[in-house]
């Protein structure tokens, strides 16, 4: 494209050149139209609308009233549960995001050491939890608080605990358990991207590395494999971070809503509470807007750091 531009732009303006190109390639616009029309309606408009509505009070029945920053002021000064939700969300994301990323990366690396046939089977074993729907509810049975819970039953049998622990009702354990279950389900798309990434690293690089004095598998990973897998690692980071903000459904299913003493209350729950149950759409929009900027911000920050590390 730049080369064509250089030739043509001496004669006509950039604007005119663009118009000609648009006319010549009109089929392209026709082909993207269905997708982007729906994308616009169900993704772009909602984001813009929630930013606008966040400055109003709106109950779905009356026309929105403009109230400037009142929703945000209320969120930060008047809503203790929201502050708790922010704290929980950030802690949850800070653990599950990097956690799932590193688990995906290292297990993909380990799996890559296996022979192809076994590799395919082990990949399936690790990937299965993320596509198995509500199977994670089984963890609830393992950690069930009555005497049928495996962990309690075995704990008592082996004298590790004196009496049954209320795993999913006790604030002390809930957070750790849901993080563990979230991590268990988190070897998804980025994991597959890493599995594929390890397979397409140029073999000659390894040979060259061996000649240059790469001594063990860790050095090989650090100096050869990871640098050539950077594109996959970028995508994996984005998918992991976005997912780390979205485990609310698992929390609902495992500990119920609201969680005991709001100990596992996240921004997503707060959003559902105000938007889906109380129909305070303005307030909910302010929450959604903050969540949006938190997700985008976290992603941009991390991808920027990753770019620096690579170069």
């Amino acid at each position: 494209m730049p080369r064509e531009k250089a030739i043509i732009r001496t004669d006509i303006s950039k604007f005119k050149w663009t118009l000609i190109e648009m006319k010549k390639n009109w089929v392209g616009y026709a082909m993207i139209l269905p997708f982007f029309l729906l994308f616009f309606i169900f993704t772009v408009i909602p984001v813009v609308l929630s930013v606008i509505l966040s400055f109003t009070t709106f109950n779905l029945l009356e026309w929105p009233q403009f109230i400037a920053m009142d929703n945000y002021i209320r969120l930060f000064l008047d809503d203790d549960i929201f502050l708790l939700a922010i704290k929980n969300t950030l802690i949850f994301a800070a653990i599950t995001g990097p956690g799932s990323y590193l688990l995906s990366l290292f297990f993909a690396w380990f799996i890559n050491e296996l022979r192809p046939k076994i590799r395919a089977i082990v990949t399936l074993l690790f990937y299965a939890p993320s596509i198995s729907g509500s199977i994670y509810l089984i963890w609830q049975i393992f950690f069930s608080s009555d005497q049928y819970g495996f962990v309690n039953a075995w704990g008592i049998k082996l004298n590790l605990i004196a009496k049954p622990i209320l795993w999913f009702q006790d604030e002390k354990y809930i957070f750790g358990l849901i993080i563990a279950v979230a991590l268990w389900t988190s070897l998804g798309t980025s994991f597959l991207a890493f599995i594929a990434g390890f397979q397409v690293v140029n073999m000659e690089l390894y040979e060259a590395g061996a000649v240059d004095g790469v001594k063990n598998r860790w050095q090989e990973l650090w100096f050869i494999t990871l640098p050539s897998m950077r594109p996959q690692m970028m995508l994996g980071a984005i998918l992991a971070i976005t997912a780390s903000f979205g485990f609310g459904g698992i929390i609902d299913a495992l500990v119920g809503f609201p969680s005991p003493e709001y100990c596992a209350h996240t921004i997503m729950h707060h959003l559902g509470d105000y938007g889906g149950m109380r129909f305070e759409m303005g307030y909910a929009s302010a929450i959604a807007t903050l969540l949006f900027f938190m997700m985008i911000g976290a992603n941009l920050l991390v991808t920027k750091i990753l770019r620096k590390v690579g170069s």
Binding site: N25, G28, Y29, M31, P34, F35, F36, L38, F39, F42, T43, P46, V47, L49, S50, L53, L60, F107, F110, L114, V122, L124, L125, A128, P129, I131, S132, G133, S134, I135, L137, I138, Y148, A153, W154, L192, A193, I195, A196, G197, Q199, Y206, N216, E220, R230, L235, I241, T242, A243, G248, A253, G275, M281, S285, A288, L291, M295, I296, N299, R307
Partner: protein, 303 residues
């Protein structure tokens, strides 16, 4: 006989060694290998533990479900839970088959629409040089950075305006424009569909639509198979939806949640339902795995 087998094994190992000569000898220590196998073995067991338990429980007769201390594996396997599940489908308030129909319908229609629309858009962005395509692709990349939670609340307003609340449309149509599929498809098209072939087809006067169906799509078979598995397993596993109130429109996954949380009385049937639920996406993945891996190898994000 035995020597024959050992001979064969020896040859096999030699072949394997030959393949990996350099990697075995220089950078791989035997100790490290063993360590990795042990870690992989332990973690793999943890990963499949709930699945194995679900399968074991689904085969347990009633008395084994109630035994104390709880027993992990089944002693006298029976298929009674599965027959109970299918009987339950018949006579619950909303027939169980309706939940299954909903899930199948949503998954199939949603996946079909998603694959077609994202492939069209991906082809245009990757292979037709219209102004604005880089901008649009950047928008798609940004859209990977947040999830549907953010748009859920305001989409409720959109859905109300469209009159789609409490209809299939509310679940299916938003699924058409899932952006990860478009992203993966575009990356794959860019590397695996050669521009020269497209150019010559264009010179012969083939329309872009024809080129898309006759040349591009057959060349990116792994990519659309991947889109199918991602879109399908996402929709198949969709549970409660905030835009759906009617019991008749709810999904199988939602119904399973109800059974499982209704307690130990239905534990066997619940486990059977979970097994039915997980078998489908896992089977689809087993069949498509090599295609998926091939697609993911081009999935990286270049700066």
């Amino acid at each position: 006989m035995l020597t024959k087998i050992t001979d064969k094994l020896k040859k096999f190992w030699e072949k394997q060694q030959g393949k990996n000569t350099y990697r075995r000898s220089v950078t791989r220590s035997a100790g490290g290998d063993v360590g990795i196998y042990i870690i992989l073995g332990i973690v793999a067991c943890i990963m499949v533990l709930p699945m194995v338990y679900a399968i074991a429980s689904s085969l347990k007769p009633l008395d084994e479900l109630w035994v104390f201390p709880p027993r992990f594996f089944v002693v006298n396997p029976t298929l009674k839970n599965f027959t109970d599940l299918f009987r339950l489908m018949g006579d619950s308030w909303v027939p169980f088959s309706r939940y299954i129909f909903n899930t199948v319908f949503i998954s199939v229609v949603g996946t079909f629409g998603n694959v077609i629309l994202s492939s069209y858009a991906a082809y245009a962005i990757a292979k037709i040089k219209f102004p604005g395509r880089k901008f649009l692709f950047n928008v798609i990349v940004y859209s990977l950075m947040f999830n549907a939670t953010v748009t859920g609340i305001t989409n409720f307003i959109t859905m109300s305006l469209l009159g789609w609340v409490d209809t299939y449309f509310a679940i299916i149509v938003p699924a058409f424009c899932t952006t990860l599929g478009l992203y993966l498809m575009k990356q794959f098209m860019e590397t695996s569909v050669s521009d020269a072939v497209l150019e010559s087809a264009r010179l012969e006067g083939a329309s872009e639509n024809k080129i898309f169906w006759k040349i591009a799509m057959p060349m990116v078979k792994p990519a659309w198979i991947t889109l199918i598995i991602f879109s399908f397993s996402g929709l198949w596993n969709s549970g409660a939806n905030m835009y759906i109130y009617s019991e008749q429109l709810k999904t199988f996954n939602y119904a399973i949640g109800q059974i499982v949380s209704s307690g130990i009385a239905r534990a066997g049937v619940g486990a059977a339902a979970q097994v039915v639920m997980m078998v489908v996406p896992i089977t689809v993945f087993i069949i498509t795995q090599s295609n998926v891996i091939q697609t993911m190898s081009t999935s990286g994000m270049k700066d």
